[in-house]
Symmetry: C2
Subunit: 388 residues, 2 copies
Amino acid sequence: MRIVDIREQSVKLDVNLRNASFSFDDMTTSIVALITDIVIDGSPVIGFAFNSTGRYACSGQMRDRFIPRILRQKPDDLIDPDRSNFKPEAIVRAMLFGEKPGGDMERSVGIGTIEVALWDAMAKIENKPLHKLIAERYGSGSTDDRMFCYVGGGWYAPDKTNDVLKDEMRKYLDQGYTMVKTKIGGLPLKEDLHRIDAILSVLDGPHQLAVDANCGLSPDRALEYARAFKSYGLRWFEEPVHPVDYEATAAFVEAYGLSVATGENLYSTEDQINLLRHGGFRPGIDFLQVDIPQSYGIHACAQSIARIIDYDWSPKSMIPHGGNQMSLAAALGFGMVMCESYPDVFGVFSGYADDTVVENGYLPAPNRPGIGFEGQADLYKLFKTLIN
Amino acid sequence: MRIVDIREQSVKLDVNLRNASFSFDDMTTSIVALITDIVIDGSPVIGFAFNSTGRYACSGQMRDRFIPRILRQKPDDLIDPDRSNFKPEAIVRAMLFGEKPGGDMERSVGIGTIEVALWDAMAKIENKPLHKLIAERYGSGSTDDRMFCYVGGGWYAPDKTNDVLKDEMRKYLDQGYTMVKTKIGGLPLKEDLHRIDAILSVLDGPHQLAVDANCGLSPDRALEYARAFKSYGLRWFEEPVHPVDYEATAAFVEAYGLSVATGENLYSTEDQINLLRHGGFRPGIDFLQVDIPQSYGIHACAQSIARIIDYDWSPKSMIPHGGNQMSLAAALGFGMVMCESYPDVFGVFSGYADDTVVENGYLPAPNRPGIGFEGQADLYKLFKTLIN
């Protein structure tokens, strides 16, 4: 039982989006196929993953460092004999050879993406959906048969009037979603507030809306936003300030009072713990967001969960970043509070299995073995280019 | 006046070293040449830099993102007309297009290395050593004619007895250095203490010795080291714990009491400020170390200095990481307390101009235009392969 090959390809994203701090014009991602020598139904088991969205492809790191470091191991050293399956800890350890502490994001995306592809293969070897395998290893063993899912939308675009914004949100409601999120911070505060009023006019109440500043506010401007947004009683206020400016985060949390969410731009357990220690983050009120393929993968997420428990946090206050089958599997497997969706925003890299039906805000738990990319025809076609 | 081309090459380091947390077996670095259309003495002005040591080459990031983003700018947008020279802020801004906040190290090394190469070209255009240009832009305008320099040595190696270690330190003293540093944390505490006793036996006193754990100690083990090392009264204790574990850093600082140094594995101003805010770091007692080519470059260092002043820190408590002509120029230009040297450790990537004579612990200020890599025959030969 061994890993035969790991292949990577950089793919340009076909998107044209803007948030408070960022343009996606140049964006790429790495797709990965991890090929094993296990044969099921006449075909080798192959794990697939991609490096989420918002950070660039990491071909060089994977090809020059992580893939050769795995392939040069003795195959038996990468196996958990008790489970007759691969051992993610051993594979991550192999990839971390010769890596200094700190500066995580340069490697956490490449390592995490390969690790998630490994889990796809592992779940396929055990012929179960990935969320079941995660729950058996790290969770309660049982998983819900559905997961609440909100829509991350409301991106800025030239000539995007508030009427267009309202139509966008109505479309999500028509698709079966019951909660939406919109970008803020990319316009003057007053115009942003008009956007919020417009969106609220098509919703049942403020609990159906969250806002996301994508770390684009200065500490002072964030406090203005805290004061202005407080009275709305929205579901949460996301990424007010720079992701590692814990002092400004704590000041925002105190000024805003209601639920705050952040963490998708933290790439290590150490930085997540810093948020809880120094960022004023409150268990049971705030939300810790995590991008699993971009922050060392699923085993690392389990290690973070083991650490946050010391600070009275639980997976029930966690939300996986990504809006894809990988984040859905993690949300279900670890028992997180919800996941997110970006319908049509990141091309083939957004969304869930083609046969997914959203009902009353919930996605059904997938039942395909592994992550289930095989249920996304266009994305799976892209993954198949790695192995043909 | 424009940048004609920027070229990069990944180079394997020819070293075999180990510290408390890390092996250099696979290590690479990126060398860069930034070619301008300015002609001096019949040759185009070309800036050179490499990405320090300890982090890997970043060819993909440079070639796919940073270099094209610079070369697609209008040349005039990259010029400071008042100074008739390039404008580092504009070039860094161009490289940061489409980059999300946080996760800095994935890009800070590539951006910083290109930025330092730009400064080499800028100083050559003004026909002065880089440290003079830095001092004019950001410092007092004047610079010392020498810089104190210690030797980072005492690496672990198989069969490295304490006698061999003593010989190594004696060799540094014979070369003209008056202060040395040794690795700790790679052996059990008792053996590490024997190493310290051995080294001290060839020095005049503990002020001549610093120790470096390279972030390799757990928080608990760091406290044991704090208690055991306190009575030695060494120059400083470096990188006791994980670089962004500010709570463990603060606990170590409190337990140890004497001077602590860290920061070379922080890659942004935000993380440096976190160390001062949350890491218990004390102005006038502790040392902030910074790797300039790995953390966005010289202008970013000036921005950090402008920020740390709010916390009663000054460049006089800063030490540049690297042990090369780039760090020497920064130490002199910004008025830092000292620099470091790794004689012969990182092959052509360590050390200073071939004609440098260390006297009583001091290096002379270089007088070649730019960084002065032209005075390092073997390294310059390597840089020349980029342009021939």
